[in-house]
């Protein structure tokens, strides 16, 4: 199980880097889509089918389509980066990478064990529904009102005259 997790993590990293370094905006968006799918896989491995599917529905089914839409409407253009990767900068990047790895390793050694383990949480559909409508009712409602305000504002901005 651990190996599968690490392979999946490797793929998420690759896709995440693809989002940043992709020159074609559409390809970047699709990398983001694949990245979200690997995150959904993480949820499946952690035993929460519900969260995994919600991740796919919300991010893959909604948000990336919107991003793709915006890219199409603004026109597809290949972006050329405003920097050149020379031998010197490449060496710098590699060295910086090693430095970052060292820092991360030191951090992991010293502080990681101080972080408490996440408490058990029932992540089935029933469990999450229960938590949302009892313990976390107030934050849930506040978030929904915030989203509603966002929708109304979007309408006001989009419409020339209200």
């Amino acid at each position: 199980m651990k190996t599968v997790f690490y392979i999946n993590a490797l793929f998420s990293l690759i896709f995440a880097l693809g989002v940043i370094f992709g020159k074609n905006p559409l390809r970047s968006a699709l990398s983001l889509l694949l990245f979200f799918l690997t995150i959904a896989l993480d949820f499946f491995f952690a035993g929460s089918e519900y969260l995994g599917f919600v991740q796919i529905i919300v991010y893959a089914g909604g948000i990336i389509v919107m991003i793709a839409f915006v890219i199409i409407l603004l026109g597809l253009k290949k972006e050329s980066p405003d920097y050149d990767i020379t031998v010197r900068s490449f060496t710098g990047i590699i060295l910086l990478g090693f430095f970052a790895l060292g820092v991360l390793y030191g951090l992991a050694k010293s502080v990681l064990h101080l972080i408490p383990k996440a408490p058990y949480f029932d992540t089935s559909a029933a469990g999450i529904g229960d938590a949302l409508f009892s313990k976390y009712l107030l934050p849930f409602e506040v978030a929904s009102i915030l989203l509603l305000v966002g929708v109304v504002l979007a309408f006001i901005f989009a419409k020339k005259e209200v």
């Binding site: 559409l26 699709l30 519900y50 599917f53 796919i56 529905i57 089914g61 389509v65 793709a68 199409i72």
Partner: protein
């Protein structure tokens, strides 16, 4: 998992996929026959008795056609798009219970799987539209994206009604919960909403704006030829079969029925729904695009919300 279990699963999967592809191939013949009788014609009747070998002839013809990839297309996306459409069209059959004991898997959030699949399904047509380097394809792809997003909301809200009424998201449990009365009676508003939204999700007339041939040639698959075109075409029919099977499972009691074995009932109900889809396609004219969007947002979604409220009230007092 022992080797025997794996083998049984592989055999089951092959039966489902093989049977499904067979049904899909013959659906093309069924559609042509149905439209022929609706328009008082004979339909295909040259290849084999009653035209029964027509799908095979079509398949061979498409295999031998030249596979044209137009200039300046985004090749990777252009090739991936039909594959996404076809795979996502076959996926729902993973969780559909064909009879009391024959289903591939029973996951307890099955309905969410269906929604996730229909979410990814959008990319097949969207990518085909974008990558084809053609104005018609592009407009077709954009229309598909906006249409699918709008109608997915109504579709998922209709799902919520079913889930509330049956108290489960597993398709097996939903089917079993319908042994007294089919969901179509307590969920009638939900059924209407679901059916119309399904028509729109499938891009069928009266909602087939993405491939409106009068204005867009063939929409998102204008530039596709040979087997890639066939994958879109088959994917469309596979989606149609999947949607009919989902409607059967959610609203028409699935495999349940007297006397006959469950599998037969399931097939009969699915084909009745398929026939209704075809009947609608050849009876109604096409909507305008603004009509389509406003029906989705101003009629279907409020109706679906009303259905959820009524279902909740009914659940409390019955």
């Amino acid at each position: 998992m022992a080797l025997k279990d794996v083998l049984i699963l592989v055999v089951k999967i092959s039966i489902v996929i093989g049977g499904m592809l067979g049904v899909v191939a013959y659906l093309t013949l069924m559609e042509r026959k149905v439209v022929a009788y609706i328009q008082e014609r004979l339909g295909p009747n040259r290849v084999g008795p009653w035209g029964l070998l027509q799908p095979i002839a079509d398949g061979i013809k498409l295999f031998f056609k030249e596979d044209v990839i137009p200039a300046h297309v985004d090749k990777l996306l252009y090739i991936i798009a039909p594959a996404i459409t076809m795979t996502m069209a076959v996926m729902p059959f993973v969780i559909i219970p064909f009879s009391k004991s024959f289903f591939l898997s029973d996951i307890n959030v099955g309905i969410l799987l269906l929604l996730a699949i229909s979410g990814i399904n959008t990319y097949g047509v969207l990518l085909a539209g974008i990558s084809s380097n053609s104005k018609y394809s592009m407009i077709g792809g954009l229309r598909v994206a906006s249409q699918l997003i709008s109608y997915e909301v109504a579709l998922s809200l209709a799902f919520v009604g079913v889930v509330l009424w049956n108290g489960s998201m597993s398709l097996v449990k939903i089917t079993e919960a319908q042994h007294v009365v089919w969901n179509i009676i307590p969920q009638f508003i939900g059924f209407i909403v679901f059916f119309i939204a399904a028509l729109a999700e499938l891009n069928r007339i009266p909602f087939d704006l993405p491939e409106a041939e009068a204005e867009l040639v063939a929409g998102y698959h204008t530039e596709y030829s040979s087997m890639k075109f066939a994958l879109f075409y088959l994917g469309e029919y596979a989606n149609l079969t999947a949607m009919s099977a989902i409607i059967t499972t959610l609203y028409l009691g699935g495999w349940q029925g007297p006397w006959l074995p469950g599998f037969v009932w399931f097939a009969i109900k699915t084909f009745v729904v398929l026939f209704v889809f075809m009947w609608i396609r050849w009876t109604y004219p096409r909507f305008r695009f603004d009509q389509l969007i406003s029906v989705g947002w101003k009629v279907l979604i409020p109706l679906a919300l009303l259905n959820i409220a009524l279902t909740a009230i009914l659940r409390i007092y019955i």
